[in-house]
């Protein structure tokens, strides 16, 4: 009886996953016109429990999207506008002196990192020192101040944005930092139709507000369900081969890798691919990961973990085409 109930619960949770996912999408779509692919990647990363780096020119709704997400998931949200003078303590928090009737004492004042969804806006404008302060929060989901480590709330995500055009006065994120991001999502300029929708939504009469679609517990349950999705050996192997194929120093590296890449992706890339592919499989109504899931998530997992070499720059090769070719050749 207990077994049967558990099976029912599982099936329900699997069905609930797809329903919940669809509901989140629907709620976000109320305030976010277009950018389906960006929203899709963002949700995959959030459910898989990873951080996302959103890259796009200003005004494309990156910050707005993160706000909608926090509203939809009903999670505590904080926004940090990264500037060159931003200090680590400004984001982690600091001990401040509190004077009471009983006397003075230090009390830790939590910084903006203490929220479930942290929007690190224009992350590349902060100094490496401040950027590094994010590392522990992103990886360990904890913050250490004055020797004291404090856990951050679960679920916890850092959603960072950066402007690819304006590079003056910026500090490119170091590889270690980039590797902590599950996805790097490119936010494209909206199409004519999408732009029309945005105009109607923002300066027209049409007004819809995204509502709550899930809460933290449901999100964690979705994550747990996704982790159980089986992956066939051949599918997993294709993901691993893809990651290995990005390393120019290996003997089996393809020609394009040897010619245009300076270094390859870390094992975190493989973890990112498989964890987000599991989520996508469930979102697609499948109980197993398919090659197409790997193909879908791989570019977002790899593009910020690879570095082009001088030859690629001089020949005008971009990362997207190289990753696309690798995916095409290795995921099948």
């Amino acid at each position: 009886m207990r077994e049967r109930n558990r099976k029912m619960n599982t099936n329900q949770s699997i069905e609930a996953f797809a329903e919940k996912y669809a509901k989140i999408r629907t709620e976000i779509a109320k305030e976010m016109i277009g950018q389906e692919d960006v929203v899709e990647h963002l949700l995959l990363a959030v459910i898989a429990g990873g951080n996302v780096l959103l890259e796009g020119v200003p005004g494309l709704g990156k910050t707005h999207l993160v706000r909608i997400l926090s509203k939809t998931l009903d999670l505590p949200f904080s926004r940090i506008q990264f500037t060159p003078d931003l200090m680590p303590a400004d984001i982690t928090g600091t001990n401040i002196l509190i004077r009471t009737e009983k006397g003075s004492s230090f009390r830790f004042q939590q910084g903006p990192l203490f929220a479930s969804i942290v929007l690190a806006d224009e992350i590349n404008r902060a100094t490496p020192k401040t950027q590094a302060a994010l590392l522990e929060a992103m990886q360990e989901h904890s913050v250490t101040v004055a020797g004291e480590t404090m856990r951050l709330p679960e679920p916890y995500f850092v959603l960072a944005t950066q402007n690819p055009v304006e590079q003056e006065g910026t500090y490119p994120l170091p590889e270690a930092q980039l590797d902590r991001f599950l996805f790097k999502v490119l936010v494209p300029f909206p199409t004519l139709k999408e732009l029309g929708g945005i105009m109607n939504l923002t300066i027209g009469s049409a007004s819809q507000e995204a509502g709550k679609a899930a809460d933290a517990a449901e999100l964690l349950d979705m994550r747990e369900t996704a982790r159980q999705v089986p992956v066939a050996e051949s599918v997993q192997e294709s993901a691993l081969r893809l990651v290995l194929a990005t390393h120019p120093e290996t003997e089996d590296a393809p020609e394009i890798t040897k010619k245009y890449l300076r270094f390859g992706a870390s094992p975190r890339a493989a973890q990112a691919i498989l964890s987000t592919a599991r989520v996508r499989a469930l979102e697609q109504g499948r109980y197993n990961v398919a090659y197409e899931d790997i193909r879908y998530v791989a570019p977002a997992c790899l593009r910020h973990r690879l570095a082009l070499n001088f030859a690629a720059v001089t020949e005008g090769k971009d990362m997207e085409s190289i990753v696309a070719e690798l995916v095409e050749n290795y995921v099948k």
Binding site: R6, T10, S13, T225, P230, V235, R286, Y287, Y291
Partner: protein, 495 residues
């Protein structure tokens, strides 16, 4: 146990996919078999264009069909691996559901949520498999192999253009078999007729001769083989006749001695016509017939001939020769054998014209048939081969000469040459006898028993060898046959 059930369910759902894969393999195997079979057929047809083979087109067709069936069967019966079937199904839009389910079923059962998700995944895979239209699995027929098969088929048809004699030889063999079957029947009938008046021992020898001839005719691959067999039978028949004649002479001689006709008996045994003429002058025909009463048929026939000679007052050499060699009349078997040789010679001539070849053992030409034939039969310059010439009709029964060169080599002390006989004294007795459609000319040598025509063979052998060499050149003989003729005369010259 749950996992096992799940595996069974999955394998059941995979069955149509496996069948489809088998069908695809069958087609591929058949295509490969077709290419291989056509290659085998081509080789077979090419070889049998030169080496005759009965029913070669059927055999080639059967080889091709056999290869197709074998290729199809081997491929189709090869077990289909579960993983291969799963991958094939997944390629039809199942998005790795089947492969994953198969792996999950193989793995140790997980607990909790993982196990339930695995079960749900398997059910999902089974449901999709059952809904899968297996016709989506493409049946790819290897076009290259089919093309190769078609090209080889065209080449097989092209073997018809190879100027080989395979089919013709097979056809000729079939005709020969029909011919030899008829001949076997004829020789049996002739043998039955021949048995009349023969002793049991002679009958047994004749039967054996007939049986051997039939067997050799059946085994004959061509006219030449058949001719050789008939020739051999003729030789044996001659031996039997001579042996029978010898026995009859002894029997008659004994009877004559018993009747007090010692001189006639002695002349008969010596084979001397002059002595016999002298002895017969003192004996009446009636006394001879009386003395021969109760003897065998052959001996009585001889006594009859002696009686006729007694009435005429003398016995010629030819008559004595005929008595010595048995019977001047051709027996039924002899006639049958002659007819067979004539028939085979005609067929051989026609086939020689077609193929430009002449059968071995019958190298003599019609024009040289009479040359070197001896009246006394002791040393004929001819061989079987010479006598069995393409013309077929003319032959000396007196000279026989139908022994192999090796057999008679040492006997050629003198040789009869009609051209060497003094023209004035030349008196060649020619007897013609109508034997069905053929006529046989019998030259019995110079008249009155003259030996003028007998000359040492060394005086004529060179000329004969040259004539035979020319005849052999004009008779379209094979090189082997020509060499045989040359060898024969060379060895005669060396003697």
């Amino acid at each position: 146990m749950k996992g096992y059930d799940g595996m069974n369910e999955l394998l059941r759902a995979l069955r149509p996919v496996k069948n489809r894969i088998r069908l695809g393999r069958l087609l591929r195997g058949a295509a490969s078999g077709l290419a291989a079979g056509m290659a085998a057929a081509l080789i077979l047809l090419a070889v049998t264009s030169f080496v005759p083979l009965e029913g070669r087109w059927w055999i080639a067709g059967a080889a091709a069909a056999g290869c197709v069936l074998l290729g199809a069967a081997v491929n189709a019966l090869r077990p289909v691996d579960n993983r291969e079937a799963a991958r094939t199904a997944d390629r039809c839009g199942l998005r790795e559901r089947t492969v994953t389910a198969l792996e999950m079923a193989d793995r140790a059962p997980a607990d909790g949520k993982a196990a339930e998700i695995a079960a749900a995944q398997r059910q999902d895979a089974c449901a999709h498999l059952q809904a899968l239209d297996v016709r989506k699995i493409r049946l790819t027929v290897p076009k290259k192999r089919l093309l190769a098969g078609a090209v080889l088929l065209a080449l097989c048809a092209g073997t018809l253009l190879i100027p080989g004699g395979g089919d013709r030889i097979v056809s000729e063999r079939r005709i020969l078999q029909e011919k030899t079957s008829r001949m076997a029947e004829e020789i049996e009938e002739a043998e039955a007729a021949e048995e009349a008046g023969k002793t049991e021992k002679e009958k047994a020898e004749l039967r054996k001769l007939t049986a051997d001839l039939k067997r050799e005719l059946e085994d004959s691959r061509d006219d030449v083989d058949a001719l050789v067999a008939v020739d051999k039978a003729e030789n044996r028949l001659e031996e039997i006749r001579q042996k029978t004649a010898g026995d009859a002479i002894s029997e008659l001689a004994d009877a004559l001695r018993d009747a007090g006709m010692d001189a006639a008996a002695q002349a008969l045994e010596n084979g001397n016509a002059a002595e016999m003429s002298a002895a017969l002058s003192e004996i009446s025909a009636e006394e001879l017939k009386e003395a021969a009463e109760g003897l065998s048929g052959e001996a009585q026939e001889m006594a009859e001939q002696m009686a006729q000679a007694a009435q005429q007052g003398e016995m010629s050499d030819a008559q004595m020769q005929a008595m010595q060699s048995g019977n001047s009349q051709m027996s039924a078997m002899q006639q049958a054998l002659e007819q067979m040789k004539a028939a085979l010679g005609a067929g051989q001539g026609s086939s020689s014209q077609q193929s430009g070849e002449s059968p071995s053992g019958s190298s003599g030409s019609g024009g040289s048939g009479n040359k070197g034939q001896s009246a006394n039969g002791a040393g004929s310059g001819t061989t079987n081969e010479e006598e069995n010439g393409g013309g077929g009709g003319n032959k000396s029964s007196a000279s026989k000469g139908n022994r192999s060169p090796e057999y008679k080599e040492g006997e050629y002390e003198t040789i009869y040459d009609p051209e060497k006989v003094n023209t004035a004294s030349r008196d060649v007795m020619t007897e013609q006898q109508q034997l069905g459609k053929d006529s046989v000319q019998i030259e019995t040598g110079p008249g009155k028993g003259s030996l003028e025509g007998n000359v040492p063979y060394r005086q004529v052998i060179g000329e004969y060898a040259e004539t035979e060499a020319q005849a052999a050149e004009s008779a379209h003989l094979t090189r082997e046959q020509k060499e045989w003729v040359d060898e024969y005369f060379r060895r005669l010259t060396e003697e």
